[in-house]
């Protein structure tokens, strides 16, 4: 039984026919790390937002289910849904520079969920925050908890956000391109850190990224998304040895090689894009019948 299973989730811009998600189905087992890859605009972040309940107002879900441990989130009243998601899920956001509240100290930003939502005592929550900050290798957690975000570097802030995501021992973490906004040198450390934290805590992880290299290092399985459709759902070894969908094959071929940094970039061929688009259109037609 998967911890998260999404069935036939469709979403669109309110009052517009254009679909953002087209009957997306996705499973994440307990403790599994699943990559969610696709180009910009494919809808990968929208899936994360749909799970966490932070979709923009202009987007509406038209059909489907999001089952979290068997409970359909979309069928819950808003307050209940918030409480459930807040205690079972967490987000590692994309940009650490904007994801911390500039006017509050770090400590309360880690402990607030524990104290306000999960009713921990302040002392327990602070102790937990100190432990987690040490776990994400932040020197002098005590001082950092008293700091304001602008006093810390981007890498430090991303570590803090990772610590904060693990604070309540969630069952599922959604990492929304957690390394995209970081320096290349820091990216690798953060990636390692997320993988290590995930392994230690046994948390299921939905890793949203456009970087197949990252997926190959961190994930066990992946879903390839194009124009709101899941084109391929494979384990990592299967995908990298024998991608099923032509678009996946082209995507894989387009990944820059670290072994050949000066080699020219291969774009996804137009014919593949056209064929994939046709497939999306066919899916739309069959959905309307």
């Amino acid at each position: 039984m998967s911890y998260l299973s999404i069935h036939n989730l469709s979403a669109r811009l309110k009052g517009r026919p254009d679909q953002i998600l087209r009957r997306v189905s996705l499973e994440v087992a307990a403790g599994e790390v699943r990559g969610l890859v696709g180009e910009s605009g494919a809808g990968k972040s929208m899936i994360g937002k749909a799970i966490l309940g932070t979709l923009p107002h202009a987007v509406e879900i038209t059909s489907g289910q999001i089952l979290l441990d068997g409970t359909d989130l979309l069928a819950l009243p808003p307050a209940q849904r918030r409480a459930l998601v807040g205690s079972k899920c967490a987000l590692i956001p994309q940009d650490p520079l904007t994801a911390l509240n500039p006017s509050r100290r770090i400590g309360p930003q880690i402990t607030n969920r524990l104290v306000d939502i999960l009713r921990w005592s302040r002392a327990d929550a602070e102790k937990r925050a100190r432990e987690l900050l040490a776990e994400v290798q932040i020197p002098d957690p005590e001082r950092v908890m008293r700091s304001y975000p602008h006093e810390l570097s981007g890498g430090m802030r991303q570590r803090i956000l990772i610590a904060s995501a693990f604070a309540a021992e969630p069952k599922l973490i959604i990492a929304d391109e957690p390394t995209t906004a970081l320096d290349v040198t820091v990216q690798k450390q953060i990636l390692k850190l997320i993988a290590a934290m995930q392994a230690r805590h046994g948390t299921a992880l939905l890793f949203v990224t456009h970087d197949l290299g990252v997926v190959s290092k961190v994930c066990q399985s992946l879903s390839v998304l194009y124009a709101g459709i899941v084109l391929e759902d494979s384990t990592i070894p299967d995908f990298f040895h024998a991608p099923k969908h032509p678009y996946s094959r082209a995507l894989l071929a387009a990944t820059p090689k670290y072994t050949d940094p000066d080699g020219s970039l291969t774009p996804v061929p137009d014919a593949v894009i056209a064929a994939t688009r046709a497939e999306v259109a066919a899916a739309d037609r069959s959905a309307h019948v």
Partner: protein
């Protein structure tokens, strides 16, 4: 340390500003037509009477000379004597100042409450008809000037539904045990809530008239910056933690969104104090503004100077206060 330096710097620039104001007001009111001596003397006064009185008030000297005499007095705390009432200007002005301050602060509080409520409600219910209604109300509140709101209020709550008093500061028949002129404040401190109620009922309408346009400005700006803040990542992150929309607005967005509004309130509050001149006249409220109009009509030069200087002190002092509050609320400035 750096903080104190910047405060000192601000204080010294404030001093220069005040000196500039003193120079301008002194020269302007002597250049514009109107002679205070002519206003004081009864018809049929002789030429020698005029000369004698002019010399008595020092108005026969050259304007720069008069300025030097006046400004050296001001530095020692002597603002001269009112021509019409023959009382020291400083005493007259300080007697009236509490009334105007209480009125302005009351207006500011009303404006912040009304504007804040409009902004928060509009943000909470964004995209709904309520938000549209708030925007329309805001536009109306903004496009009607304060004195017209004063008239509308007098008609509605003074004449049609006589709930509030339309003139004065307090019912004249009441015995006031106060030692200062901060009636409203002192009534609270002396636990005389009966008097407080009477004073507040007098003050409410002029304060509301002053507050409505300011409330609209506050509401509009705060809602705008709240809306922008609500899209930021840390607000989204707070939502994923399980916080309600209301909590997210109040605890995550508001503390950051309020900063630009605060600067604006500082600037607008000084306009509000300027607005008291007309509003106090309209409601026969015994404050500085009302006194200023009388002083201008009577060409009471020392009194006009005193009032303008005092207004300038309030303006600059309040702006300084806003800057300090801003620094206190924004950790990035505090540590810089």
């Amino acid at each position: 340390m750096q903080f104190f330096q910047s405060v000192l710097l601000r204080l010294s620039t404030t001093f220069v500003t005040l000196l500039g104001v003193a120079v301008i007001v002194f020269f302007v009111i002597r250049v514009v037509p109107g002679n205070p001596i002519a206003m004081m003397l009864p018809p049929g006064a002789t030429e020698s009477d005029v000369t004698r009185l002019t010399a008595l008030y020092g108005l026969d000297k050259s304007i720069p000379e008069q300025f030097l005499i006046w400004i050296s007095g001001v530095i020692q705390g002597d603002f001269g004597t009112s021509i019409t009432t023959k009382q020291p200007v400083l005493q007259l002005v300080l007697n009236r100042l509490p009334a105007t301050l209480e009125l302005s602060v009351m207006a500011l509080i009303i404006a912040i409450i009304l504007g804040g409520l409009m902004a928060l409600t509009g943000t909470r219910l964004r995209g709904t008809k309520t938000e549209a209604a708030i925007d329309v109300t805001n536009g109306m509140a903004l496009s009607v000037p304060d004195f017209l709101w004063g008239l509308i209020l007098i008609l509605t709550f003074g004449v049609l539904l006589p709930i509030f008093h339309i003139s004065g500061r307090v019912t004249p028949s009441l015995q006031l045990p106060f030692t200062t002129n901060f009636y409203l404040t002192e009534a609270v401190l002396r636990l005389r809530f009966d008097l407080w109620l009477d004073i507040a009922a007098h003050m409410f309408m002029p304060a509301l008239a002053l507050a409505i346009p300011l409330a609209a400005i506050i509401g509009q700006l705060l809602k705008q910056s709240l809306k922008e803040t609500m899209h930021l990542d840390y607000v989204t992150l707070a939502r994923t933690k399980g916080y309600s929309e209301t909590h997210v607005i109040l605890h995550e967005a508001l503390p950051n969104a309020i900063l630009p509004t605060l600067t604006l309130v500082g600037v607008q509050f000084t306009f509000l104090i300027g607005g008291t001149v007309i509003i106090e006249r309209l409601f026969s409220y015994e404050g500085l503004g009302n006194m200023a109009i009388d002083a201008v009509i009577n060409r009471d030069l020392p009194l006009i100077q005193g009032i303008v200087i005092l207004f300038a002190v309030i303006f600059t002092g309040f702006n300084l206060l806003v800057d300090l509050t801003y620094a206190a609320l924004n950790p990035r400035l505090r540590h810089a």
